[in-house]
């Protein structure tokens, strides 16, 4: 797989470390309760088709990306910097 990095252009996926579903950006507030944290840590939608997921460019510029990828074909549909996604969702960084 080739991941089109928003800053660095096309990079081989083997330069990256995979974390998982991009919903991991949305950590619940500390007071959200045990159910919210259980769902955040353990439960996944795991869709067949478009999947938004976090990749870390470890052997590169060490930025986190949100990659939208089709899990049936491995086609990459969109790539954004995770910090842009997090800021849009109201996070400070």
């Amino acid at each position: 797989m080739i991941i089109p990095h928003p800053l660095l252009g096309p990079r081989d996926a083997s330069e990256f470390v995979y974390l998982g579903d991009a919903s991991l950006i949305d950590r619940p507030a500390p007071e959200a309760g045990i159910d919210a944290f259980h769902d955040y840590v353990y439960q996944r939608d795991n869709p067949a088709g478009a999947h938004r997921e976090l990749w870390f460019h470890e052997h590169g510029d060490r930025s986190w990306l949100v990659v939208t990828r089709n899990t049936l074909t491995h086609e990459i549909l969109a790539v954004e910097l995770a910090k842009d996604v997090a800021r849009r969702r109201g996070r400070g960084r």
């Binding site: 995979y18 840590v41 795991n46 990828r69």
Partner: protein, 416 residues
């Protein structure tokens, strides 16, 4: 028709005209006591055990494609019970004991071959871990032998014992482990279940669950609605997709695992070797092909095919362990979709929906578990209580903290 040497002899004398189909191809009825979704190894084994061990024969197994078309048909055929943790080891040892009598149980030649497995270690810490694991195995009634370097060399003189990074210091040997003919396991269970009256309905995709007042009363399929008192889902690889139709989210990600077969070679590898440090394991099939694999690719996938970096990684591991395979040609490679659970261990449990049961989360270890998985799923369906060896495989263990994490990797499915 019972298969036997006598039967082969008499058929041989009469032109082999008396063989019949191994199982029927029935139309689904409108109601069953139990409907099992997925005619793979675990679904078929569950149906077989329901009928044979618990006397429940009003059972249908529904399959989207053809039976045995999923991971039972695309694994690397290893059976073993060399786990560490109390929640796992008794279950896998129960499974290995069932493997040892599988062919008598199903009257089908599944080519179970107890050719032994060796897990290599490379340093003192590895030896300590192997000894601890061996002790845990023996406490659960399994067999384990700690081999030193010369003990490994006696079986596998061709390994690179003086590899600069991972010199081989010994191995944990389980003589009763081995391999089985994976397709024949599915076929044997299918024929056995069919002979007990179970309907195996192929080309019948489940498209939804009929849930009334929190209770599952049947399934919607491409061949009509089928009612059932109990529905069990055994579709590892696609668990999240199927259970989503019942409104459930699972602690599972689907990942792709690749496997490889070389061209046929003269017999050279008598058993199974696992080289954890090099992310590589290998055995040799009866046809002569070297059957090997390594890690999962590491990203969510339903594609049943992987990418080339993992091919390179596996082949590097193989070359590091046994440089002689460098001249062998790779014949085939393929991928299967794994239910990677959040602690690396499976789930056999009721769900929050009454009458709906779930079997999944087998990671890349489902094949060896097939007989016990079937038995324990049938036990749960028939008695309402978990089998003692599967009592830890609860769906809610992530909430209660009772995870069974062999690798200690935490809630990171691609690290298990």
């Amino acid at each position: 028709m019972t298969y036997s040497a006598w039967r082969i002899f008499t058929e041989g004398l009469t032109g082999n005209r008396g063989w019949k189909r191994a199982w029927r191809d029935p139309e689904p009825r409108s109601d069953y006591e139990v409907v099992i979704v997925g005619a793979g190894g675990h679904g078929l084994a569950s149906a077989f055990c329901l009928a044979k061990e618990f006397g429940i024969t009003n059972v249908a197994v529904l399959e989207k494609g053809w039976l045995g078309s999923g991971n039972i048909g695309r694994n690397t055929t290893i059976i073993r019970s060399n786990y560490l943790l109390p929640g796992n080891e008794p279950f896998y040892e129960f499974s290995l004991k069932l493997w040892e009598r599988l062919e008598e149980d199903t009257n089908y030649n599944s080519m179970v071959s107890q050719r032994g497995i060796i897990n290599l270690f490379h340093n003192d810490a590895g030896r300590d871990a192997a000894r601890r694991r061996g002790n845990a195995m023996m406490l659960a009634g399994a067999d384990a032998v700690l081999l030193d370097r010369e003990g490994v060399r006696a079986q596998y003189p061709f390994l690179d014992f003086d590899n600069a990074r991972f010199p081989i210091r010994g191995g944990l040997y389980q003589p009763r482990a081995g391999t089985a003919r994976h397709d024949a396991v599915a076929w044997g269970y299918a024929r056995g279940a069919d002979r007990h009256g179970v309907d195996i309905v192929q080309n019948c995709e489940v498209t939804g669950f009929r849930i009334e007042a929190g209770r599952c009363t049947g399934v919607e399929t491409t061949r009509g609605t089928i009612g059932a008192k109990k529905v069990a889902v055994c579709v590892a690889g696609s668990s999240s997709r199927v259970m989503a139709m019942a409104g459930l989210r699972l602690p599972i990600e689907s990942h792709v695992l690749q496997a490889f077969v070389s061209e046929g070679l003269k017999p050279v590898i008598p058993g199974v070797i696992t080289y954890g440090a090099g992310h590589f394991y290998i055995s040799q099939s009866d046809k002569g092909g070297l059957v090997f694999g390594g890690d999962i690719d590491g990203y969510n996938s339903y594609a049943q095919r992987g990418n080339l970096p993992m091919v390179e990684d596996v082949c590097e591991g193989g070359m590091a362990l046994m440089p002689m395979i460098g001249r062998a040609k790779l014949l085939r490679m393929w991928g299967g979709v794994m239910d990677m659970s959040m602690d690396g261990s499976p789930i056999i449990d009721k769900t929050p929906v009454d009458g709906l049961y779930f079997n999944g989360g087998w990671c890349y270890g489902g094949f060896k578990a097939t007989p016990a998985s079937g038995w324990c799923t049938a036990h749960l369906l028939a008695t309402g209580a978990p089998h003692p060896t599967a009592a830890a495989y609860r769906l809610d263990r992530f909430r209660s903290g009772r995870v069974i994490d062999e690798t200690g990797a935490g809630a990171q499915p691609n690290r298990h």
